[in-house]
């Protein structure tokens, strides 16, 4: 895959935008172990909000709470002002919350195209019977979805050459891209990216960073992103705000320049220099 230079931007006005997602004093326990201790977070529309923290800080638990895999014991989660505490993951997906996973969770035996189509399923209006007939409205809908997948996702992620390949046969970097494609098929408004760069080589990291920026900035997408990531170089370059988590507690939530030099952040990362180091 050829490389392009990533252009980095960060806008001030986004920091004052409408709140899309809000976590209000969220607690999550596993038995007596507290994974999240009163976390509050506001994600504004259009921003890339990164969550960082050492291993075991509770980042993935937080993501699972947002997309509904876990239900916090205490506290509230609001999406566009609506309390979504009780909603199941698929109901939240319907509202426009999509995610990728730290360890890729794709359907290995299915082709790239089928994996992405699966993500689109939730937006299909026709039922089985009408689908079987493939006529009128159903045919039109099918064509529209096909165009969307081809023109907006496959072209964006540059995966034309693997369209018909089973995902399980692909290298890890491409599987991550397919997973992102499947999340995008949902046409989300909020996209949770759980360590999208983990295990990728430098070239793949640059590609992925460019895709995240495209998804966030292109007029067609304008997706708000929550980025969980260890690669500090990328986090500091891409994010509008960075939320620092340690042992289930919030340490700081602010713009990257503020986070970078904060003594507590550095302390939280002490002894984990490898994680703090950047690939660049």
């Amino acid at each position: 895959m050829r490389r392009r230079i990533v252009t980095l931007t960060m806008s001030e006005d986004r920091r004052q935008g409408e709140v899309l997602l809000e976590l209000d004093d969220v607690f999550m326990f596993f038995g007596k172990v507290g994974a999240l201790a009163g976390i509050s977070l506001q994600v504004r529309r259009g921003e890339i909000h990164s969550i960082i923290g050492p291993n075991g800080a509770g980042k993935t638990v937080m993501m699972n709470c947002i997309n509904g895999l876990y239900h916090p014991q205490k506290g509230n989660i609001y999406y566009k002002g609506q309390n979504i505490n009780k909603l199941k993951p698929h109901q939240r997906a319907k509202l426009g919350i999509a995610r990728t996973f730290q360890k890729v969770e794709v359907f290995g035996g299915m082709t790239v195209l089928d994996n992405i189509r699966l993500g689109r399923h939730i937006r299909l209006k026709s039922g089985i019977l009408r689908g079987a007939l493939y006529w009128g409205q159903t045919a039109r809908e099918e064509i529209e979805h096909r165009e969307f997948i081809e023109e907006q996702i496959i072209d964006l992620l540059e995966i034309e050459h693997i369209r018909d390949k089973p995902v399980g046969m692909l290298p890890y970097g491409l599987q991550k891209r397919v997973e992102l494609g499947r999340a995008l098929a949902l046409e989300p408004e909020l996209l949770i990216l759980d360590e999208p760069l983990a295990g990728l080589n430098l070239e793949e990291v640059e590609d992925m960073a460019r895709f995240i920026l495209d998804i966030n900035e292109e007029d067609r997408w304008k997706v708000t992103c929550i980025l969980v990531e260890h690669d500090m170089g990328v986090v500091m370059d891409l994010s509008d705000r960075v939320f620092v988590l340690n042992f289930g507690n919030r340490i700081l939530d602010g713009p990257p320049e503020e986070v970078q030099g904060h003594p507590e952040v550095i302390k939280a990362y002490l002894g984990e220099e490898d994680l703090y180091s950047t690939r660049r």
Binding site: R4, T7, E150, E151, I154, E160, E203, D214, D219
Partner: protein, 635 residues
């Protein structure tokens, strides 16, 4: 339409577009997974408005316009528009490094640069200040272009809009410009890849290009319903020859693949009738088949073996111009339908009437492979300076150690020193801003190629090699290292090879293993490795490579056999200047770069120490410290 000296490419283009209009597809592009047709009428419109847009931007006749990007309709429109506006087209290889881009843009006095998208625009931005004559950079793929605000950037659509406005103001301007053109005007300025020095810009006229296409098609006619897949760089003269010189004359359909990575699959979907590619593409196809063969079940392997055995036998009879006995014909026909037809289809060669290989030497094993498969593969010989090709194999008269006979209207002979010289209407006008090289290459209308060869008893031209590349063996006989290299490359495990032995006691080779194929082989053998370097130095891999060399050494005179070899710690790469952009080995460069290895090969040592720094494509540098094993072959 008669090809005359007055005729230009734009005049022919107008005539074709008027003849076919909406009724025929001029080109197809696979986009978003679907083949989208573009009729001649749309082709004309796009070229017309782009040309007028360029004129609106201030383009004058004789101005140079450079194009860079993948093969796509916009690329061809830009080139055709340039020529129609009486400018001169220059193409850059898509993977050109910044220095090469800068050199060519600057040397050619380019005023307008057509880049495809963000990647090309980035390249243009970084050289813009150093190329004072460059005025505008035009892009057509909007992806990633949202944050660029340089005032010299302009989109392809905007240029066409300007063209539309100009057409309203001055109708007929486009056609009038075309009428003024003459066949002797320069159409293209083509930079040769150059195995030895800086690229030289060859000036080619309309007459050069069209007469070459006409001569080729008088031997191997193409038809208007033929399909051609354009996937090799436009900066390579072979692609120009097919898409412009031949394509425009017969009006066949040009198909553009979706992405470079999908080219092979797209070729299969189209099933082109004619193909022209450098040997490496055919070598890649052979490798694909060989690897799939190694991977397949016992029964499939046996079917394949039987079919190729028979195929080879029948092909050899044809090469020897002997009649094939009827029972062999029958068996051959049967196996063709059972096995080879499928194989041909997988390679996208099921409809191919002529497949040409040119640009470098092709090994006899590869040649036999394709003929055994039933593909009419022909060798051609030519160069940029003769607008493509001058010598080609005729149907039914294929000798794989020759490149065939001269095209009609072309005279080819060799000088006393054995240099191949040719004369034809397609011989170029000279090098741009390089009088010295022009007088050296063009003498009394003869083109001095710098290649050595001879004409055999059947009138076929045998190209030995570049004069400076011919080596002398210890028995005093001249020998072509390329011949040996292509033999070694027939092995699927060997990706690149470099044979040394000029005026030496014995012949040695430096080999680059094919990482994918050898890697897969190692996986099956449960050999662990972490990098190319480690894999290449495994004793088992040396055994494997040795067995491949033993195969290649068979049937060679004793003095020409490879006696020692070393597996290199990396593959040869054009970015490291080891290969040209068309993947020809730059012998003198590798000789100086790997002098230590060469010295070690001709000493008693069994290993050579390497201590060097290599720079990756992404700019990172790595320090390499390793020992490469030297293996001597047993007699």
């Amino acid at each position: 339409m008669e090809i005359t000296r007055e005729l230009t490419i734009p005049k022919l283009f107008l005539e074709r577009a008027a003849k076919y209009g909406k009724s025929k597809v001029a080109m197809r592009e696979k986009e978003f997974g679907i083949w989208k047709p573009i009729t001649w009428e749309q082709y004309l419109e796009n070229v017309k408005y782009t040309a007028l847009g360029l004129i609106r931007l201030g383009m004058e006749p004789g101005d140079k316009v450079t194009m860079i990007g993948d093969n796509r309709p916009e690329g061809l429109w830009a080139e055709m528009a340039t020529i129609c506006a009486r400018g001169i087209g220059v193409w850059l290889f898509q993977d050109c490094l910044m220095d090469e881009v800068k050199y060519i843009v600057d040397h050619s006095d380019t005023r307008f640069l057509f880049g495809e998208g963000q990647e090309e625009v980035d390249k243009a931005i970084s050289i813009f200040d150093e190329c004072p004559k460059l005025e505008k950079v035009i892009w057509d793929d909007p992806k990633g272009m949202r944050n660029y605000d340089q005032d010299y950037l302009i989109s392809f659509k905007e240029v066409q809009e300007m063209g539309r406005a100009l057409e309203k103001e001055q109708p007929g301007l486009f056609e009038e410009g075309i009428r003024k053109g003459h066949g002797d005007d320069v159409a293209l300025l083509f930079y040769t890849s150059g195995t030895t020095s800086l690229p030289k810009g060859a000036l080619l006229s309309h007459w050069n290009l069209l007469s070459m296409g006409k001569a080729l098609m008088s031997i191997d006619p193409c038809y208007e319903n033929d399909d051609f897949v354009s996937y090799l760089p436009f900066a390579w003269i072979g692609e120009q020859m097919m898409s412009i010189s031949c394509g425009l004359q017969v009006g066949f359909t040009i198909n553009f693949p979706e992405e470079p990575e999908t080219a092979q699959a797209n070729i299969r979907e189209i099933g082109p009738h004619v193909m022209f590619a450098p040997p490496r593409m055919y070598e890649q196809m052979t490798r694909t088949v060989q690897v799939k063969y190694l991977d397949s079940s016992w029964i499939k392997r046996k079917c394949y073996e039987a079919s190729t055995w028979v195929g080879h036998r029948v092909a050899n009879l044809k090469f020897d111009k002997k009649t094939t006995p009827w029972h062999w014909k029958l068996i051959d026909w049967l196996l063709y339908w059972l096995v080879r037809k499928k194989l041909k289809d997988h390679l996208g060669l099921c409809k191919v009437r002529y497949a040409y290989s040119g640009g470098a030497a092709m090994g006899p094993d590869h040649f036999r492979f394709f003929h055994a498969l039933g593909v009419n593969l022909k060798q051609i010989y030519g160069q940029t300076e003769i607008a493509g090709i001058s010598v080609v194999h005729r149907d039914g008269d294929i000798k794989f150690d020759t490149v065939g006979e001269p095209l009609p209207g072309t005279e080819v002979k060799t000088t006393e020193e054995g240099e191949i010289i040719s004369k034809s209407p397609s011989v170029f006008l000279g090098y741009y801003k390089n009088e010295e090289a022009t007088t050296e290459t063009l003498r009394n209308g003869w083109l001095y190629s710098g290649d050595r060869g001879f004409i055999d008893e059947d009138g076929h031209l045998v190209v030995f090699d570049r004069s400076k590349d011919v080596m002398t063996l210890r028995n005093g006989k001249p020998f072509s290292p390329q011949y040996l290299e292509t033999r070694l490359k027939f092995s699927p495990y060997v990706r690149d090879s470099w044979v040394i032995g000029d005026k030496r006691d014995y012949v040695t080779a430096v080999l680059c293993i094919d990482y994918d194929v050898v890697g897969k082989w190692a996986d099956e053998k449960k050999l662990t490795y972490t990098s190319y370097m480690e894999l290449s130095q495994k004793p088992q891999v040396y055994d494997l490579v040795e067995s491949q060399i033993v195969q290649a050494n068979k049937d060679l005179p004793e003095a020409a056999r490879v006696k020692k070899f070393v597996n290199l710690y990396k593959e040869f790469d054009p970015d490291d200047d080891e290969l040209t952009r068309t993947r020809k080995l730059r012998r003198s460069f590798v000789e100086s770069r790997y002098a230590d290895i060469v010295n070690a090969l001709y000493s008693d040592r069994d290993s050579v120490h390497i201590d060097t720094t290599i720079t990756y494509e992404d700019g990172r540098a790595a320090h390499i410290k390793t020992d490469l094993w030297i293996r001597e072959l047993k007699d």
